[in-house]
């Protein structure tokens, strides 16, 4: 466990609990949000962040209540628009550590477009999507990540919409950092939060989160001990894609299609396996498409970890560069000169 991890060799100035507010946490008992809150608070402590320089911005939803529980600056904004608030904030003061929280409804339904644009612009923001495949706050309608044929209050005969695959969406939006984690694996979640924070650019972290009231067990195949090893593919940069209780299964490409092989069996040699390269956009695009239903047989496992991470210039750096460049080129703005313009005349 990395709870005591120290970022710069010094003891962290603040403890996880220093990042907790005095407000009662109002999620349902058992909600996956609690674990995420806890990990975020510890990671902030581990990172030695100063709470006055952290801002947590969210939209609307159960997940979006998050800022109220963080003893930092925070804004609980309006539904779906958190990426825009976060962008403006970051551009007003790039020194702030901006964390954005959204849900699968807030982020992919009403807010899908803003998510798309913040990802391609690559502002330096840590963006956490709590995916519970349901609208929690409005009491249980299906969400854009819900599986087809989901029976909810608004779809008593089953939902018709093909779900969004968040990883594929983020890759399609040319995100510079795409990762997946889960509420029920605190260690993994924390390591993803560390990675997200370290990445300069928009860090997209999808977090599977159990809504035990309206969609209990949606991710149990991935989060529960018995099924987890066979369904989860934990990614490590430079390492072969291996999974399974005995770590005896691997992924390789055959005829350009990914395939599960038994290591040591007939055709399965570790050296033939797909080596994870988080900088390879082609591989990452394919990885993001590992999205099979774990309840079906012969399926590909679901990747967790960093699927993609590349450096590209952030919008905020570039904007501030332009501001500097403008002064270099044109000199500090002269208000009198601006007002007068280039053509004046005098009446006397």
């Amino acid at each position: 466990m990395s709870t005591e991890l120290k970022t710069n060799g010094q003891a962290p100035a603040l403890k996880a609990k220093d990042f907790a507010t005095d407000q009662d946490v109002r999620w349902c008992p058992g909600c996956g949000d609690y674990s995420i809150l806890k990990q975020v608070q510890s990671v902030m402590a581990e990172l030695g962040l100063n709470k006055d320089e952290v801002v947590v911005i969210s939209g609307i939803g159960c997940s979006s209540r998050f800022p109220y529980y963080m003893e930092t600056y925070g804004m609980h904004s309006i539904h779906g628009r958190a990426p825009a608030f976060a962008s403006g904030l970051k551009l007003s003061n790039p020194d702030l550590s901006v964390w954005m929280i959204t849900g699968d409804g807030d982020g992919f339904s009403i807010g899908g477009n803003h998510l798309l644009h913040v990802l391609r612009r690559n502002l330096d923001i840590n963006l956490l999507v709590f995916n519970n495949q349901i609208y929690g706050l409005t009491k249980g309608q299906y969400s854009p990540t819900s599986e087809v044929n989901k029976k909810t209050k608004s779809t008593p005969m089953g939902s018709l919409d093909h779900p969004i695959n968040p990883g594929a969406f983020a890759m399609g939006a040319d995100a510079s950092f795409v990762a997946r984690s889960m509420d029920r694996d605190p260690k993994h979640l924390k390591s993803m939060l560390h990675r997200a924070n370290a990445h300069r650019g928009t860090s997209f972290v999808e977090i599977y989160q159990n809504c035990n009231i309206f969609n209990d067990g949606a991710f149990f195949a991935f989060t529960e001990k018995a099924s987890k090893p066979d369904n989860c593919l934990f990614l490590e940069h430079g390492q072969p894609l291996v999974f399974g209780t005995e770590r005896n299964k691997g992924i390789r490409l055959k005829d350009l299609r990914p395939q599960v092989v038994e290591i040591g069996q007939d055709e399965g040699s570790v050296s033939d396996l797909w080596i994870h390269d988080e900088k390879d956009v082609f591989k990452a695009s394919m990885l993001a498409r590992f999205f099979d239903d774990p309840r079906e047989a012969g399926t590909l496992p679901r990747p967790f970890g960093v699927m993609y991470a590349v450096d590209r210039p952030t919008y905020n750096d570039q904007l501030f560069d332009q501001l500097d460049e403008a002064v270099t080129k044109m000199g500090e703005g002269d208000l009198d000169a601006l007002i007068a313009g280039s053509r004046t005349w005098t009446i006397d």
Partner: protein, 613 residues
């Protein structure tokens, strides 16, 4: 060459031609030159609908109107004295607004079969030949041909040569109004310095036009317009959107805060984005967002971070921003929303002007959500109003809607611009760092009901804000009934209180009591001034008051109106200010409403006033 110069008091000229004929440039150059003579002036461009229609067609006509004179000029003029028509379509679409007996300067080369057909003249009909222009003074000139001939030696291609024909017209008018061309020649030199053949071509055609006036026998007279009795000082020409841009930059400088402008392009507000984007050396940040909602939300985010968040748009965009403006209202965060009104409803008449977003600005949000609304009266007024909007926003911690419109945005007038040093600073007080002891109370208010602006990054002030109702002082989420009523009322009271921080309503023209008060707002300023001055001069009991503050109203407004027997409210909408005045003061105002996407004409307004005098 004629010797006699006729002295005129004022003249209105309309330049009209195809979108490709360079009429906006011609108009602009003529305007600058006019300003140098000391005339007062007012201009208005008249663009075609958004997409360039095929050359020669009616929808493709582009126009520029200038009204200048030796008296004070308030409008670009209802009807023109002179119409410059570069082709058939330009003539056809403008003739109805030429004064009886007016002058037409016509490019006969724009009246061939094809042009006539494109302008939808009946088969075989040619207005230059069929007597339909009888009664006007028509000056026919083969401008295209003369331009080409003048450039016979030039190595430019035919297309490029033809592009010079607007210089011919310009030169000709310079002769007609007895102008010095030097300033235009200088401008050409600076503009085309690097393209010598283009420069020479433009120069020679300009001069050819001038010489044509000088040498031809067609014209009986040159005209002279003397300087207007404008206040002494240094002037420049200014357009509304330009002034708005400069006002925002000035507000940034005068407050010491960066301006953050989040916007999504939309006619006629896009030029604000373009203008601000060019001023990054003033620390101005521009952000072209993915839509209007993101634009306003980014601006709010920036304000939260301690910049002055500004967003700009036009009607349909304002509708989209409604929810976010409501958030800014309940957060009590500074925000300026510039709305350059255009013809509505829906996409409406995107290139035309209207004043029909006033009620939207007032009420277009869910719940009880009051925000201050102010409006610019003229192009140069946009400068002052922009500064004022920023001042109110940061000093009263509130979103402010600034209303302009297409007419102001694109209209030009001479402006005796201020010195930077004379502009009042905007005082900003961020909450000071906390001592970490006493809990920070983000919604504690001062005597004006204003809370503190607490920037993230400030030590000891960490706190959370949001769109849910908040407890007084602490800002914690609160569902308490009495608290909600208190907060609703205090937010209203905060806006109402702004009336104590804005100037009292003044009478612009006329006595402070009498028969009729003409109460205007926004871009009707010019036409009302001009008509009321005229009537006052004729001894009529009429006065003009112009509202810059629409919410809250100046605190003496009722008293001001009470001094008159009748109040007339002219608007380019179906009566929106009238509604507000009726509601607030239970006063049965008279209305004059024009909803045609174009400004009110002087004659129309005069008629409306005389009707109730």
């Amino acid at each position: 060459m004629s010797e006699a110069k006729t002295l005129l008091e004022d003249v209105t000229i309309k330049f009209a031609g195809d979108s490709g004929d360079g009429m906006q440039l011609t108009g602009g150059l003529f305007t600058n030159n006019t300003a140098l003579t000391g005339s007062d002036l007012s201009t208005f461009p008249d663009f075609p609908a958004e997409i360039r229609a095929p050359a020669g067609t009616l929808p493709g006509v582009s126009g520029f109107q200038i009204h200048f004179g030796s008296t004070e000029i308030f409008t670009p003029g209802d009807h023109f004295d002179v119409l410059v028509a570069m082709n058939s379509a330009a003539l056809k679409s403008n003739l109805s607004r030429l004064k009886e007996g007016g002058t037409i300067i016509v490019n006969t080369d724009g009246f061939d079969k094809k042009n006539l057909r494109l302008a939808k003249y009946e088969d075989g009909a040619n207005p230059l030949e069929d007597g339909s222009l009888d009664g006007y003074e028509v000056y026919e000139m083969a401008i295209t041909k003369m331009t080409r001939e003048c450039l016979a030696e030039s190595d430019l291609g035919m297309k490029e040569k033809d592009r010079c024909k607007n210089m011919f017209v310009l030169g000709f008018l310079y002769w007609r109004y007895d102008r010095n061309m030097q300033e235009t020649l200088d401008w050409l030199a600076s503009k085309f310095g690097k393209k010598p053949s283009v420069l020479t071509a433009n120069e020679s055609v300009l001069k050819a036009g001038y010489h044509y006036g000088e040498t031809t026998e067609t014209f009986s007279s040159q005209f002279e317009i003397q300087a207007a009795p404008l206040a002494k000082g240094t002037y420049r020409g200014i357009m509304g959107n330009e002034a708005l841009v400069m006002g925002l930059v000035a507000a940034g400088q005068k407050s010491g805060l960066p301006i953050f402008y989040g916007s999504y392009p939309i006619t006629p507000a896009s030029d604000i984005l373009h203008g601000l984007a060019a001023h990054k050396n003033f620390g101005v940040k521009t952000f072209q967002a993915e839509d209007e909602i993101a634009a306003v939300c980014a601006a709010i985010g920036a304000s939260y971070g301690g910049n002055i968040g500004v967003t700009g748009t036009s009607g349909p965009g304002l509708a989209l921003k409604a929810e976010a403006v409501g958030l800014a209202m309940i957060l009590e965060i500074p925000l300026v929303i510039c709305n350059v009104q255009r013809g509505g409803p829906s996409t409406g008449l995107p290139t035309k002007t209207e004043q029909s977003d006033l009620l939207q600005a007032m009420y277009g949000r869910n719940g009880e959500s009051p925000v201050p609304v102010i409006a610019a009266a003229s192009p140069s007024d946009c400068f002052h109003v922009a500064i004022e909007a920023c001042r109110l926003a940061v000093q009263h911690m509130t979103p402010v809607v600034l209303l302009s419109d297409g007419y102001i945005a694109n209209g030009m007038e001479p402006w005796r611009f201020p010195k930077a040093a004379d502009i009042e600073p905007i005082e900003v007080n961020f909450a000071p760092p906390g001592d970490g002891e006493a809990p920070f109370l983000p919604y504690l208010r001062d005597e004006n009901h204003v809370r503190a602006w607490a920037k993230p990054g400030t030590a000891g002030l960490a706190h959370r804000i949001g769109g849910l109702e908040k407890e007084a002082n602490t800002g914690n989420v609160s569902y308490d009934p009495a608290n909600h009523e208190y907060m609703t009322k205090i937010r209203q009271a905060k806006v109402d209180k702004i009336a104590e921080f804005v100037p009292e309503q003044e009478i612009e023209t006329g006595a402070s009591s009498g028969k009729v008060l003409v109460l205007g707002w926004g871009s009707t300023y010019g036409v009302i001034q001009s008509v009321v001055r005229n009537l006052v001069a004729q001894g009529e009991s009429v006065s003009h008051a112009h509202l810059r503050y629409l919410n809250p109203f100046p605190k003496n407004l009722e008293a001001v109106m009470g001094q008159f027997e009748k109040v007339l409210v002219p608007e380019i909408n179906n009566g929106q200010l009238s509604k507000l005045i009726r509601e607030k003061y239970l006063l049965n105002v008279y209305q004059y409403n024009k909803i045609q996407g174009v400004p009110i004409a002087k004659s129309e307004l005069e008629h409306a006033i005389r009707d109730i005098l």
